[in-house]
């Protein structure tokens, strides 16, 4: 089977996620799709797998033009997409998940459980994994869930399997097994598109590379003809605009404003560090490294043990979000739509929400003061709107993010936690946010940026903590922050090496 994508364009609001991409998959080919976070890889694959239609462009299968209207449609045409976020129904059994929407029936119209379970067992045997098809998915380990996803793709006849960073949840041994299966299927004519950040894996399993940057295709060819260094350079590119941030001064002062000692929670352990006034600290780590929960814990939204000291004042155990806020901690949360904004509320109310909780002492809200608060933040953050009474959804993502930031500035937070702050924001506004972060540090705010995007860390951070499996694996100074070093420590390569040696 031959799949061709021609001139694919996909916009999300003002952001062009995929910009005129041509992409060809031949039969029995393993393609590595490379690019930084936000380069548009997943979006392109979503178009191919029918998650959403392209805004422009055409898709051909064996020379025939096709319209892939939904995921089921794509499956019928032999295209399977294994998503990065595991998309299983947790309350159903393994075999029920695997056969979801493609259930096998007996003649009388009832489910043929026996046959479904048998087929599952066969696939698991081929994959050399031991998972009980009858187990409820919520009882499985993350790696096992990932394997169930893969089994789902293998069970049905398909011509193309797309895998979006499948190896993040898998251990080395499981990855090796996965590669064996991929090689075998390849000889049977099945093609793969393999999305990953891990160079050694890509070079081991893939034949062809496609490299994307900022929604555009920057290069493609054979892996045999390049080396890791070249691939990395193509992926990162050299942005002119980066120079602005190259000589960022260090605004950190003597005073330690936040001191974290032996903080442990559900998925992070024994975290200790000091944060100075005016310092920008980045905390990074792969999915499942405990980064998300650590961010929530520092803001009091997640339970923890250990001590948090703000300006020599130790926070009580089991402190609530309000306690953290009153001590001057503010958080711009990740997943803005789900956790940041109130989409029914006006821009005014969105900006005042934290202020109401910490500073507001009157009985009635005065709309004049609400306007003053807005105007002050609009000026400071250059929020682009002329109708602040409108719902916040009338703003672009970047401006929404500024409103959330303004919320904490109005609440007088001294310590600002930015959790994945530029998610879904266009490149231009991203830079504006970076400038704002640096400006805030200059004015004496202490800042922690939780991020998985290397360019972001590289631009703003004075130092960077790299988490691996919930623990601090390295603390890097500004001149030690490179894409290589972050990848090295966040994949735990240093620890694995010790084990093997």
């Amino acid at each position: 089977m031959l799949i061709e994508m021609k001139g694919i364009v996909k916009d999300f609001g003002p952001v062009r996620a995929v910009d005129h991409i041509d992409f060809t998959v031949n039969s029995g080919e393993i393609i590595g799709l490379l690019g930084e976070n936000g380069a548009g890889k997943t979006t392109l694959m979503n178009v191919l797998a029918g998650t959403f239609p392209p805004d422009e462009g055409e898709i051909f299968i064996d020379g025939n033009k096709v319209q892939i209207s939904n995921a089921l449609h794509a499956m019928r045409m032999g295209i399977r997409f294994i998503h990065q976020e595991i998309s299983l129904c947790n309350d159903l059994r393994v075999f029920e998940n695997i056969f979801l929407s493609e259930e096998l029936l007996r003649k009388n119209g009832l489910l043929n459980k026996k046959e479904m379970i048998n087929r599952c067992l066969k696939v698991f045997e081929r994959m050399q994994v031991q998972i009980d098809p009858n187990a409820i998915v919520s009882t499985l380990q993350p790696a096992e869930r990932q394997l169930v996803e893969i089994a789902r793709a293998l069970l049905f006849k398909c011509d193309l399997i797309i895998m979006d960073e499948p190896s993040t949840a898998l251990a080395t041994k499981e990855i090796k097994r996965l590669f064996d299966i991929m090689r075998q299927l390849k000889t049977e004519g099945v093609s793969f598109i393999y999305i990953s950040h891990k160079m050694p894996e890509l070079f081991e399993i893939c034949d062809i590379y496609y490299i994307m940057r900022d929604g555009k295709l920057v290069a493609h060819g054979k892996f045999a003809e390049i080396d890791e260094q070249q691939a990395t350079e193509l992926m990162i590119g050299r942005h002119l605009a980066d120079e602005e941030f190259l000589n960022k001064p260090y605004y950190g002062q003597e005073e330690v404003i936040l001191s974290v000692k032996n903080l442990s929670g559900k998925s992070f352990f024994d975290i200790s560090f000091d944060l100075h006034k005016g310092e920008i600290l980045a905390i990074t780590g792969l999915q499942g490294s405990g980064r998300d929960l650590l961010a929530d814990a520092l803001f009091g939204a997640e339970e923890y043990t250990g001590t948090l000291q703000v300006k020599n004042h130790t926070l009580k155990q089991r402190s609530t979000i309000i306690d953290h806020m009153k001590n001057g901690i503010g958080m711009v949360p990740r997943s803005r739509k789900e956790r940041g904004i109130h989409n029914d509320l006006s821009i005014y109310d969105n900006i005042s929400m934290a202020f109401f909780n910490t500073k507001f002492k009157r009985l009635l809200i005065d709309s004049r003061r609400e306007k003053e608060r807005f105007l002050r933040q609009q000026k400071a953050l250059s929020i682009k709107t002329d109708q602040p009474k409108n719902p916040i959804t009338s703003l672009s993502g970047g401006n929404q993010q500024k409103v959330i930031l303004g919320r904490w500035l109005e609440a007088d937070a001294d310590i600002l936690l930015f959790d994945n702050p530029t998610q879904g924001i266009d490149v231009g506004t991203k830079f504006e946010i970076y400038r704002l972060i640096i400006e805030l540090a200059k004015n004496g705010k202490a800042i922690i940026v939780f991020s998985s995007e290397f360019p972001e860390i590289h631009k703003v951070a004075d130092s960077c903590i790299v988490l691996y499996k919930g623990r601090i694996n390295a603390r890097l100074n500004r001149d030690e922050i490179t894409e290589m070093s972050i990848m090295y420590y966040s994949t735990g390569a240093n620890l694995e090496a010790v084990k093997n040696g």
Binding site: E338, L345, M353, A354, L363, L364, L375
Partner: protein, 329 residues
């Protein structure tokens, strides 16, 4: 400095009018319809009659606005009115004090409301289920207490207690009944709470997005409890008023289908059924509109048995219209 607040263009204004003030529009249309069916409709005696009829459900609808704006629902309000008014009369006959009865009604309502709130916020129960159970409990208890007979106000208290619902004051020669004053005062009070206090903003915030509200420091569970509590309190007040209006509370039928009327009033008033958006003035007009529709139907000789069908249809139409409006935005 250049003003950043642009004036709305005419087209925007019309659009805004339709999107945000549709309840005014339907209110005016309904008035026109009512006047054409019944030429006496705008007579003062008819107007105050509508207000008096609306007051009991209208007051509860204000609390229901809060509950729904916070993303919850309370279907126990009718049964609450039954148990509160029934037991209220028992207290009245026992103490001979309408104010002790008043205090008892408010207290019992707040208690029932708090239980609803605790089940939802602390027990993580869906509001529909929690309040359905509460509805069943309240109705059953008052039926058991009454053993089929009504709760009747004793002769000693008859003349004084009657005045709560039937009394009035005169301003410039216009007779204004107490229930009308109560309804209007409560509406203004709740309008201010929802628009201009921290509590109001927090209710909308929780209804709009629970996660975001929590991460902005809003005490989400506290808000969820308090909206049910306030609704219970209003049921208490309304139960007191209801007892005075009927003077004999029949346990099985008192406050019957109030939850439908109340939710219908909120829906017609433009409050989003999924929470986060709504105005008290809308609910105020919505409650009146509901009674006006009834008024028109009575004039047109539609049998009262069909009231339930009609209030059901009103809710469906109102919410469908909301969805259409939301899409067109």
């Amino acid at each position: 400095m250049v003003s950043v607040f642009q004036k709305y263009s005419f087209k925007d204004l019309i659009k805004k009018l339709f999107a945000e003030y549709s309840y005014w529009l339907s209110f005016i249309l309904l008035l026109i319809l009512a006047v054409s069916v019944n030429t006496n409709f705008l007579r003062w005696s008819n107007i105050i009659n509508i207000f008096v009829q609306t007051a009991t459900t209208g007051i509860i609808a204000l609390g229901m606005s809060m509950v729904i704006s916070a993303g919850q629902i309370d279907i126990s309000v009718g049964a609450q009115v039954a148990i509160i008014s029934g037991l209220g009369i028992v207290v009245l006959n026992f103490t001979n004090s309408i104010w002790l009865m008043f205090a008892f009604c408010l207290l019992l309502g707040t208690l029932i409301g708090s239980l609803n709130g605790l089940m939802v916020a602390k027990g993580n129960m869906p509001a529909m289920i929690a309040t359905l159970a509460m509805q069943s409990i309240c109705r059953s208890l008052i039926n058991q207490w009454g053993q089929g007979g009504p709760f009747t106000v004793s002769n000693t208290n008859f003349d004084t207690f009657r005045l709560v619902a039937a009394g009035s004051i005169r301003i410039f020669g216009f007779k204004i009944p107490y229930p009308m004053i109560m309804f209007i005062v409560f509406s203004i009070l709740f309008g201010i709470i929802m628009r201009q206090t921290k509590l109001g903003k927090h209710i909308y915030a929780v209804g709009s997005n629970t996660n975001s509200a929590r991460l902005a420091g809003v005490n989400v569970k506290g808000i969820q409890i308090i909206v049910f509590m306030i609704t219970g309190l209003l049921c208490g007040f309304s139960g007191w008023l209801y007892a005075s209006r009927v003077m004999a509370v029949a346990a099985a039928s008192a406050g019957n289908a109030y939850e439908m009327e109340v939710i219908a009033a909120v829906a017609i008033g433009g409050t989003s059924m999924t929470g986060g958006r709504g105005k008290i003035i809308g609910t105020f007009l919505g409650a009146l509109m509901f009674k006006i529709i009834n008024n028109i139907l009575t004039m047109a000789d539609v049998p009262t048995f069909l009231n339930g069908a009609i209030s059901g249809a009103i809710i469906i139409v109102a919410v469908l219209l909301q969805n259409v409006q939301n899409k067109s935005k």
